[in-house]
Symmetry: C2
Subunit: 233 residues, 2 copies
DNA sequence: ATGAATTGTGTTTAGTTGACACAATATTAC
DNA sequence: GTAATATTGTGTCAACTAAACACAATTCAT
């Protein structure tokens, strides 16, 4: 096979910023490394791009390996290419941004990788430029969730409007008006009333909704407005 | 120096999608290749990432080489990593999205690279996956320009509101109401009246404005709304 | 002077947003 | 069993914003 002559071949890594929501806090799935390099320190889940592997396939592989999940919400975040970002060897890393329902992950796989769900408010020091990746992913989440119905990717199959509101309050670190939030959400037509109630509640049981997936697919790229206009990025 | 053992090192390329606006049409700066591979065909301006070079520095280098411009609007678009995207050799390419004032570029440099400004409505067949890059860049432009005051990056230093409107109409392929557009723009406080008029006009001379750069910097990341609500991505 | 093309500004109506009130439901304490 | 407490569901209203539309002003050609 013909090859390009002059340029340098470089390692291409992938790192995954995996978000979950436990009903109260936004969390990231982080790894306490029991392998080299930087053994004993915290990092994102990552891996290298193989010779015969599409980039997106590699991301799905790495996410599956840690969570046991396929077909979850993934998008490219950004590629990080500072010369000295990895002290071992020049490595360019493509960051991937994933949202999962925290109840769906495979605990065995997570345990096997020595991974833990860590609250976004409590992220430890991370290796390399992973803190920058996390910060960018957080901004991306705040950005997109204000415009697109992204939040549902973090919710269980059936959920209540108050639960959803708690998610948005966690994302933006602010309290929202219950009544306006409910009106806005219901007006999107994205929610289907399951007829069931949340039996876990100690007071009035909230209605359980599920996502209207057809409408979600169709209208995902439209601009919506899930946050008050007073909110600024 | 220690190196990682197992993974394959891969070529990392950069490709630049460079937008300009000539007052009527949105255009891309494309290259008619007088070099291998794919000599004689059209492509984006690109290059390879060097061993001792930051990714963003490489993008700025490639953009400078073609346009003679520094400090222009650049953002990462996406990284393209299909196995067979480059038939010569496995290459991952980071796409960069650039907006320039079409009057500012260095014609010598453009000529030296055998590059031409091609209307977005008239893009020729492009090598590799460059058509996909262009399509994604176009979507990104449509997305961001609806929310952020991105359009100014494509305008000359002094411009009129009708000129700006023509740009938005070119981006979205739709006509806009002159009066509502003007009101919306002026209400942002981003425009400074230079006191001058556009002397090129054969009829009533429009006011020349310049960008309030301080406010532009400050408020760029706020959500604005430069397109009617009836507009959908 | 008059007409044609273009620019600048104003008005109106419909719809949306944000602030806030009250009623209904479920559990616990008494 | 009734009251108190916490939570959920629905409604109202005033202020604001957007979209549609009208008219006056400017400039040049005739």
């Amino acid at each position: 096979m013909t090859r390009y002559n002059h340029p340098t071949r470089i390692l291409v890594a992938l790192d995954c910023i995996i978000f979950g929501f436990d009903g109260e806090f936004l969390k990231l799935l982080l790894i306490k490394r029991n392998f080299e390099p930087e053994k004993g320190k915290w990092s994102l889940m990552g891996g290298f791009l193989n010779e015969e592997e599409d980039l997106e396939v590699a991301a799905a592989r790495i996410l599956y390996e840690l969570t046991g999940l396929r077909d979850i919400y993934v998008e490219q975040l950004q590629t990080f290419g500072k010369v000295d970002r990895d002290p071992v060897e020049r490595t360019v890393s493509v960051g991937f941004f994933a949202l999962i329902n925290i109840d769906d992950h495979d605990p065995e796989a997570v345990k096997a990788h020595n991974a833990y769900w860590i609250s976004l408010n409590d992220i430890p020091e991370l290796i390399f430029d992973h803190a920058k990746m996390v910060e960018l992913a957080r901004e991306r989440l705040r950005y997109k969730a204000a415009l697109h119905p992204l939040g549902f990717e973090l919710m269980p199959e059936k959920f209540t409007i108050p639960q959803l509101q708690k998610l948005y309050e966690a994302i933006y670190g602010m309290t929202l008006d219950r009544r306006n939030f409910s009106r806005k959400l219901l007006s999107t037509g994205l929610l289907i009333d399951t007829g069931e109630k949340n039996e876990n509640s100690a007071t009035k049981k909230a209605t359980l909704y599920k996502l209207n997936r057809e409408k979600y697919q169709d209208k995902f790229h439209e601009f919506w407005n899930f946050m008050p206009d007073t909110f600024l990025i």
